[in-house]
């Protein structure tokens, strides 16, 4: 058994799924639960190849419902547990995800968005944004990181385990089929060697001692009897979520300060927006780009600040308005006109964003 999955740092050229599996290892994940679905499969493939060498475990379940619930079981026993899914699998997994939300189970979910609705394509989309942020019968009390590159898949998968266990919210890495399947370079590292403090997991059931003798038995539930009782339970979670938000929120800005046109995009689409900003700035046009990295919680104040200053906003996404809705909710009160460029289930290129942005100048 190797001492550490990754010693020091190394530059590699791999697929995103590979990067995610390595990141889970580097984060000290103990067990993965999963069910095959494209484009997520290689996370399991790499994990099952790597895990036994490091004393880690894997369980292939009968469906995504089970993958989610077994994953929660792993967390209950105090292990860093995760699962990964996509599309229809994400739909099925909402049930365990909502239990995680209610019971504050710090499970980590990696989502590799594919086309939707229904079976659709196995390729790519940003159509699981609403589902991942607000799925299930609940309030979206989840932490969602929307990544744009392999480096981020690696960084934020590690971070997801820490955030989850620190704040006890289910935490999501929202990637997509492009990121899963493409190859590009990144630097893998041992997070501790970089000075990243790794949050230790702890058992949620089976704490030391004999229940009823040395300590009280742990009785966990997600069922409530009364409206007011549930209200209190939910508001406790809401308040914790609000309290945590300023510490967790992340975003990136590109030439936003003096931007007349503010391009809004998340995930891999942000790369097209960044490319467009670069090109348009070279042409002397005042275009900027704001990218929320956490979609839950959302960097509301920060976005509002730039949205107010801009003369026009351009929302770009590979879905039909899922991100747009989120933007509107979060900049409520800002009167800057919004133009949309929606390509549900289709990749977006720099050229397209440039063209759309130019129409606003």
């Amino acid at each position: 058994m190797a001492a550490k999955p990754i010693e020091g740092e190394k530059k590699v050229f791999v697929t995103g799924n590979e990067a995610t599996a390595w990141a889970a290892l580097a984060a000290g994940a103990d067990i993965m639960y999963g069910y095959p679905i494209t484009p997520q499969n290689e996370i399991m493939h790499y994990w099952t190849r790597l895990a036994p060498k490091h004393g880690k475990k894997f369980l292939q379940t009968e469906d995504e419902i089970s993958a989610g619930f077994t994953c929660l079981g792993g967390v209950f026993s105090g292990k860093k547990a995760f699962t990964a899914t996509a599309g229809p699998g994400n739909t099925l997994m909402q049930e365990p995800m909502s239990m995680a939300e209610m019971m504050r189970v710090p499970a980590v979910f990696v989502i590799c968005q594919r086309g939707g609705p229904s079976t659709a394509t196995v390729i790519y989309s940003q159509q699981e944004t609403t589902l991942t942020c607000f799925g299930g019968n609940g309030e979206g009390l989840r932490i969602v990181y929307s990544t744009e590159s392999h480096q981020e898949l690696f960084d934020y998968t590690i971070k997801a385990f820490n955030t989850a266990w620190k704040y006890r919210f289910p935490t999501f890495v929202l990637g997509d089929g492009y990121q899963s399947k493409m190859r590009e370079s990144l630097v893998m590292y041992d997070p501790e060697a970089r000075g990243i403090e790794m949050v230790k997991p702890e058992p949620i059931v089976r704490k030391p001692g004999i229940p009823g003798v040395d300590r009280k038995p742990i009785h966990l539930r997600n069922t409530y009897n009364m409206e007011d009782e549930l209200y209190d339970a939910v508001m406790d979670i809401v308040n914790d979520f609000k309290k945590m938000s300023p510490e967790v929120v992340e975003y990136a800005t590109f030439d936003c300060e003096d931007a007349d046109v503010l391009i809004l995009a998340h995930g891999v689409v942000s790369r097209a927006a960044q490319g467009a900003v670069k090109q348009l700035r070279e042409e002397g046009l005042k275009v900027g780009h704001f990218r929320p990295i956490t979609l839950r919680p959302f960097p509301q104040e920060e976005l509002k600040k730039y949205a107010k200053k801009a003369k026009n906003i351009l929302v770009v996404e590979s879905a039909y308005g899922q991100f747009d809705k989120m933007v509107k909710e979060n900049i409520y009160g800002v009167s800057t006109p919004i133009k949309q460029y929606f390509r549900p289930g289709e990749g977006i290129t720099v050229e397209e964003v440039v063209q759309e942005a130019k129409e606003l100048i």
């Binding site: 009968e62 419902i65 239990m99 009823g212 003798v213 997600n222």
Partner: protein, 250 residues
């Protein structure tokens, strides 16, 4: 009520008297389980999971760490715990709806994988907690809220044979049996063997227990026992179906 002397040590006194209906089969079953937990002295190793349905009323029943899950999802939660922590004695407690309908895929696959957990299922021929609807185990002709003219097997199939199915798909090392609350001594013996089987790490354990629901059967005491002993026994054969390397308890 002075039932205290009879209560197993592993029962949580603070939550007694329990909330099950008078005449319900669940407490009888949970008493047998409690006694087995006592006798093996495993309260600190057990993680007890309960389903939605009347089984969820057991969420604070024991002096044992307990997780109340979603309908049908107790098996995967307990399997997940067991896979992450091999020392756990995982017990998934559910009704016939949770085990044979909404959670059947989990039962089938946990059995097929020979997960070393104990699935304990109370069969009372209907959905008790939602108001007495038809379940996979409802007897032919039995009236329920969703089979108001009696279960029509042509349209809805015959009573589900759970242990028989698990026997067919389970692996070497699995323990499978059907018990009844009408025979408490045998019930306890069977639960004990099922717990021992997972405790020893031999394999999957599955026990279906014929239970009582006078509330939804609308039966008095005499009719209740007659229903379980005569009517249910006609369709559900009591005894051990699979025992790792040993003779069966008939």
């Amino acid at each position: 009520m002075s039932i205290q002397p009879q209560m197993p040590k592993s029962w949580c006194l603070e939550t007694k008297p329990h909330k099950f209906c008078p005449g319900c089969g669940h407490p009888m079953l949970l008493k047998a389980l409690g006694e087995v937990i006592d006798e093996f002295e495993i309260a600190d190793k057990v993680v007890f999971g309960c389903d939605i349905g009347c089984s969820l009323l057991a969420w604070d029943f024991f002096n044992v760490d307990t997780i109340q899950t979603h309908h049908g999802r107790t098996t995967p939660v307990i399997v997940g715990i067991k896979r992450a922590d091999e020392e756990v004695i995982g017990i998934a407690y559910m009704g016939d709806g949770g085990g044979y309908a909404i959670g059947s895929q989990h039962l089938v696959n946990a059995a097929a994988r020979n997960d070393k957990v104990f699935v304990l299922l109370a069969n009372n021929t209907q959905y008790g907690m939602t108001g007495g609807q038809m379940a996979p185990t409802t007897l032919p002709g039995q009236k329920t809220e969703t089979s108001p003219y009696g279960r029509d097997v042509e349209a809805t199939g015959p009573p589900f044979q759970g242990p028989e199915m698990v026997t067919a798909i389970s692996q070497e090392g699995a323990y499978v049996a059907r018990a009844t609350v009408a025979n408490p001594r045998q019930l306890k013996k069977i639960i004990k063997r099922a717990v021992e089987n997972v405790k020893e790490g031999r394999g999957f354990s599955f026990v279906e227990v014929l239970s009582l629901c006078p509330t939804n059967w609308r039966t008095n005491a005499e009719q209740t026992w007659k229903f379980v002993e005569d009517d249910m026994a006609k369709y559900f054969k009591i005894g051990e179906l699979k025992v790792p390397g040993e003779s069966k308890e008939g």
